[in-house]
Structure formats: structure tokens, C-alpha cells
Symmetry: C2
Subunit: 376 residues, 2 copies
């Protein structure tokens, strides 16, 4: 099987690029002496998970309890569910715990801590938890210096639950586009998590885990003193948003959607391809960046960019390919049936639209088909 | 099972609203005396397909060959694949044809017509096809008055393929927001398709099928003279984009995502819920409309809107709920665990993020779980 034997659209994963991305992140984590706890929400694939954890103890991060189910079934036993816990998921979490999974929850309020601990007491299970810290005023979490709330949550977690430490996610780093800015953001993330841990320790609570991470901060951090683990995910494939931040090169992007030209609108300088938003997702993450990549950067089937061709607009199963500057395009260069590969703005979002990866290894031979899953 | 017994996020389908939406579209089609050929790309569910085709001959429209496979297996035999055909799908199309499916293709160029006919001749199969017409300068298709191209395509389709007629999709209607504008767009669609059919007939080609449709034009058309069938899909669930166009009321939207409050950022007037863009999709279809609904309109668990609360921003598994005007919100009204239902901008996109519908019938009892599928 080669690329030309596939029906389009199809999600292509270049394993050679993935391996290089993994090696780079592994080196960053080793340089800082912290354990990698890769986030599996980008790949949602057992094969990708195994590649990300090779050489590490096998601790992982997930974004859904379905990921926890699937990766536990595949042999992963130390799983951090890194979305604030809701009451209707506690029975599911307890089931995994009883089956032998070390499933750690996160929460950021006394209310949630009391709920988790009460559930644990009533159901005879001890649920490990981290307190989520808001290190950059970005989304969720307790302020790192809010010692009173931290201590109250820690106290609530002493029976029916177990405080394991703190975690933060420097999601605000996605707005930094310079090496200096990314390094500063990494320090904000590190120092916030460490300060919160110190506040807990000063109040008499053990806080063995200090967990931080985002792909941009992990790759640009200058030191991770006091941090015990790094949670990163999108680095495994990278994408155009990461390239736009300067975190990777466009050539590092390991996933793309193989599409066929199905028509032309010569007068408008447009090609029509069979990859619309269903295949690419509606993610427009580069819209606010310096280079707007539309719904994706158009490459030849082998993944080499074709000048400044982008998917300028998208319907459900139609992508409209045009020059980024809207200028004239010689559509005759792209007859019906021409294969193109479109690199995604956001690999988590684009991969989520597909049920499998067609794996190549630098060339155009299909060397494997890896299943992925979605849902909750 | 009731809503409160579900793990969140979960896709809720209110069958009572769906039935009312179907009845309204059925009445519009009957008023115009045209056959309904519902588009199944919104529901991607056998149960939804059966509800849409009840009382009709069972002709349907699909957007992927996987839909054709699944719906053919479920008993649908007259299937229009309404995306321009690519060469790598012809073997699949021929397989379905040999199995007894009347699978009609669409194309809009002599190049594609010659490719389809050559494939048919070489493989001993006759593939039925419609010529796609560009009635509103919107996306794909041959101009309705380009008699020479229409005749050339029709000629190319005489051996190995079979010209069945013409089809158009007035997708530009999504930019009309008045009854008058929608009616005018419906007439553009109708008259374009009919003119193209007349050009073909004048050149000596039979053109039995004149197929048009989009939910807005179908509901606001004043006459459909010369049209033989109506292709419509999103009406089955409707969504906030349709409500923003005045095509339906917000109360008609039949699908929503059940979510839990998982935290608060009181100082920012925000709730955090466990429905992010993975559950809602990244579709921001109301962004350019008069009322921007963010990533969705926030309702109580029963589906009644809570003032002007919207999902103002979204990460993969986190939704940030805030007032549309950014004003203060009493977050204490929404303790952790509160169930909310979020109505989608675009039901095709939001439903595609889920593997099943939890079906209610006006109340909060789960009366069924309907599987849906994705992929190609």
C-alpha cells in the first residue's frame, strides 16, 4: 500500500517526524532532570502512547476517562486525569481505582475536594488528587499564593482522598512568540507550582508531586528546579500553531490530511478538495498569528509545501484551496485526482476527526494503520 | 436512566423537537409537490435517517462513501453521494453499485466525467451521475448557462456512466437573514438548476432529475416549479446558525451537549464546564451573525436558556461560561456538579464530535441511545 492507494480524505502520520519530535522532548526533560508524563489526548492511540513513553516509567496524562479506560487496558497504570473532576465521573474513577489503576484526579476548590473525599469515604475507596494551580491567570486553578485555600483543600482531602501534590498548565504560553517570552512563561509556570507546593509544605502537608507543562514552556524552560514531572502532548505531532510560535518548524509537523482535487473554479483561482472541516476540524488557531494558515497549509502528497497555498475556506466535506494572498492560481497544474497533503493548525483537533492513522515513515509507503478513538 | 445519571459531556437529542422539525420540512416539500431526499450527514444515524425518510420513498443524500455503506446496509438503496467524485473512490462506488445500491455520483467538469465514464467502461459498470450546477457563485459547479460545457459533460457520460440530471446547493443562502432574502436565494437555486436542465434537454439529453436544496431555501422557497427533489439536512436538528438566520427559533434546536460545572473563576465572572471544543466542535458559525453565541448557548439541563450565558471560550475539554456582555456573574448559583445543556452553533459539527445520542422526548428521561458514526 502506498499513499496513492488510499481513499481520501485520510489522516497521514509520518513516524520519522514523530520519532524526532519525541527525541527532542525527551532530551529537554532529561536536561532538566524531570520525569515525562506525556499527555495522550493528542494521539489517542496506543501505538503513539507507547512511542511517547519509551524510556520512561510509563506515567501518562489523559483528558477523558475513556482515555483512562483504553490506556489502562493497554497496560498503563499511572494515569493523571487532568480535567477538574465532576461528581458524575466519580463512580467511573472509583471503578478504575478498584481495578488497580493509579488514577489521580485534579480539583481546584474546597467544594470539589469535599465532594471527592465524601465519595471516597462512602464508597470505601481512596482517590488520589492534585490541586490545580492557576500559574498564569489563564483558566482554572487556585492562586499559588492563596495559602488558606490550599490548606483548606489539603485538609478536606485527608480522608477518602489523598493529596498527592500540585499541578499547573501554562496555557497562556500559546500567546508568546519569542524565545524570551516562552522562557518567561515557563518560569511563571514553574515558580507558581513550586510556590503553591511550598505553601502546602509550610502548612504541614506532604506535596510529593509538582507537575507542570505545556509543549512551548517545556521546550523553552531555562530551569525546572522543584518540578517533579512534565506534562506535554502536542509535541508528538506538532502543528502550524506551534510552528507559528517558533516552537517547531513547519517541516516538523508529523500529521497531515491526504486529500484529492475534485474540481476547480479557475476564474476564482481556486481548487476544490475533498478535505473540508470534517477532515481538518474547524480549528483556526493560526488566525491570530502572524501567518494565517486558513484551515491548513497545502503540500504535495509527500508533505512539501506548495508555495503559499492554503485551505482558504471549508465546508463539511469541501476544502477551497487558494493562494494565501488571494492571487491568481494556475489550476491546470492540479488536475482532478491530484493528491495533496494538508498540514493542520492544531493536530489535537484535526486528528480527532479521524478514526485511524495511515502511517508512513518518511516515504509514501503505508507501513501501518494505527487505530485512534474519540468520545468520553 | 435520567439526564442526571449520565457522565458528561454527552450529546442529548430531544426527539420531540426533532419530530416537529421533520414535520415542518415534510410539509414544505409536500406544499411544493417535490420529493424529499434528506441529507443524512447531520445525523449520521440509522434511527435519525428512518425518522427523516418516514412517508417518503427512502431516497437519501450522503456526504461520504462511509455513509453510503452504512445506510445501504441499513436498507437504503437510492443514495446520492453529493460531493464531487475523486478517482480513488470509484472502486468503492462500483462495489456498492454491484451490490445493488443505486449510488449516484456528482461531478462538474469534462475531466471528471471522462474519468468516471472510462472507469465504468473498463470495469463493466454503469455509474449514474448528476452534473453539479453553480447556481449562486458559491462553491463548485458548472454555470447554468454554460450550455457547451453541460453538453460536453453529458456526451462524455453516455458510455460507462449515465447522466441522470442536475443538482445544485444554494449554500450562499447562509448569508441571507430576511424572509425576502431567503426566498430570493431559493429562486436563484431553483432557476439555476432548471435553466441548466433546459439547456441539457435542448441539446437532446434527458434530464429527469432536477435536485436542489439547503434548509434555508427549502423552507422559504415560494415555488419550486421544475424541481424534482429537495436535499436538506440540518433542519432535522436545527442549530444556532439557523436560528440566527431566522430559519428556526432557538427553542427548535433539538441537540445539545450536557455538561457539568467543574469550577469557577469568581473574580472573572466565569464558570468552567467539562464541555470544551472537543464536545462542542470549534465551529464559530454565529461569529459573523447579529448575535454571537460563542461556542454555544448555555441552558439549564432541560434546555431552557439561562439569560445570555454562552460558552465564551473553549479548550480541548474545558468550556469557559460567561455572560455574553462580559458582565458580572453570580457563580455561586452554579455549584460544582450543576448540569447545563449547551446548544450548538452548528449541529452537524457538534454532533460529529460524539459517538452516540442520548435521546430524551421532551423530558429528562433517557428513552434511547442511538449510535452515530464518523470517518470516511
Amino acid at each position: 500500500m502506498r499513499l496513492a492507494d488510499l481513499e481520501t480524505p485520510a489522516l497521514i502520520l509520518d513516524a520519522a517526524k514523530m520519532r524526532a519530535n519525541i527525541a527532542r522532548m525527551n532530551a529537554a526533560a532529561r536536561r532538566h532532570g524531570v520525569m515525562l508524563r506525556p499527555h495522550l489526548k493528542t494521539g489517542k492511540s496506543v501505538e503513539v502512547a507507547k512511542a511517547m513513553t519509551a524510556g520512561w516509567p510509563g506515567a501518562v496524562t489523559v483528558s477523558t476517562l475513556k482515555e483512562a479506560d483504553r490506556f489502562f487496558a493497554a497496560g498503563f497504570r499511572d494515569i493523571l486525569y487532568a480535567v477538574g473532576i465532576a461528581p458524575n465521573k466519580l463512580a467511573h474513577a472509583a471503578r478504575l481505582t478498584r481495578e488497580g489503576c493509579v488514577l489521580t484526579l485534579i480539583l481546584d476548590s474546597l467544594e470539589a475536594a469535599e465532594m471527592v473525599a465524601a465519595f471516597g469515604r462512602e464508597n470505601g475507596v481512596t482517590l488520589p488528587a492534585l490541586i490545580e494551580i492557576d500559574s498564569d491567570d489563564h483558566r482554572a486553578g487556585v492562586g499559588p499564593d492563596d495559602a488558606a485555600t490550599l490548606a483548606a483543600i489539603a485538609t478536606a482531602l485527608t480522608d477518602g482522598a489523598e493529596l498527592r501534590g500540585v499541578m499547573t498548565h501554562g496555557g497562556g504560553s500559546y500567546n508568546s512568540t519569542t524565545e524570551e517570552g516562552l522562557a518567561a512563561h515557563a518560569e511563571l509556570e514553574r515558580s507558581g507550582a513550586v510556590r503553591a507546593a511550598e505553601n502546602l509544605r509550610a502548612a504541614g502537608f506532604a506535596c510529593p508531586v509538582v507537575s507542570v507543562g505545556s509543549t512551548p514552556t517545556a521546550l523553552f524552560a531555562r530551569n525546572l528546579d522543584g518540578v517533579t514531572e512534565l506534562r506535554v502532548g502536542v509535541y508528538v505531532f506538532h502543528d502550524l500553531v506551534m510552528a507559528g510560535l517558533g516552537v517547531c518548524a513547519v517541516e516538523d509537523v508529523a500529521v497531515g490530511v491526504l486529500a484529492s482535487v475534485i474540481g476547480h473554479q479557475a476564474a476564482r483561482g481556486q481548487l476544490i478538495i475533498d478535505a473540508g472541516w470534517m477532515a481538518m476540524s474547524r480549528d483556526r488557531g493560526t488566525q491570530g498569528q502572524q501567518v494565517d494558515q486558513g484551515y491548513g497549509l497545502v503540500c504535495d502528497a509527500g508533505g512539501r509545501a506548495l508555495g503559499d497555498l492554503i485551505v482558504a475556506s471549508a465546508n463539511q466535506e469541501h476544502g477551497i484551496v487558494a493562494r494565501r494572498d488571494g492571487g491568481p492560481l494556475d489550476v491546470a497544474r492540479f488536475p482532478v485526482g491530484t493528491l495533496l497533503r494538508v498540514l493542520p493548525n492544531h493536530s489535537c483537533a484535526t486528528a480527532a476527526q479521524h478514526g485511524e492513522y495511515q502511517v508512513v515513515d518518511g516515504g509514501d509507503a503505508i507501513v501501518g494503520t494505527w487505530q485512534r478513538f474519540g468520545g468520553w
